[in-house]
Amino acid sequence: MIPADALLRALCNGHVDFVLVGGVAATIHGSSRLTQDLDIVYARTPENMARLVESLRPHHPYLRGAPPGLPFQWDVATIQRGLNFTVTTDIGDITLLGEIIGGGGFENLLPDTIQVDLFGLKCRSLSLQRLIEVKRAAGRPRDLDSIAELEAILDGRSKR
């Protein structure tokens, strides 16, 4: 079993600045939809990228779906050269996003986050409204069901 908290614990214990987005953020807001991986937007400062690299290094990160044996180096230079990475680790799959469509990077998203206590950890998740906005901006047909559910949750809040 892959405990939900393992990746969060690795990131928080490593003092990585990140915001939860995607399906896990939707779950935090009450979504019933199944998601398979953890999506985060990480801060692109050199210090934070170094913390991100060190926090996941013990869990053997590798490009998800890539054939084994590629000369993939898990280091700050690799993170700096790229932006978004779909990664598999011993403790679960994680998508590392430097920026998201309609939302920008970590600093842009920060004002629209909430703090949630998860497994004794303080994590930041994208607010429900911002999550809807970025999913709308992404314009992916597969998100339509998810957006509808999130908007139903938001409608329910405004009626309370």
């Binding site: 079993m1 779950t27 009450g30 019933s32 339509l144 938001l154």
Partner: protein
Amino acid sequence: MESRTESPVPIDPVIEAYKKDVDRTLIRQNLRLTPEERLLKLDRLRLFAEELRRAGGRLPR
């Protein structure tokens, strides 16, 4: 709970059409849980889905 004042999300007729099929009983159930409990429930669902995939893979073809 939210960190800024929320303005209404603009109405999108396509999403409104999808909203008709949203199962609000599942939402209500989830909203009774804490965020941590929601993630634990998600984990149980993931395990269930994995087991279903394994079982499907064992079926004769």
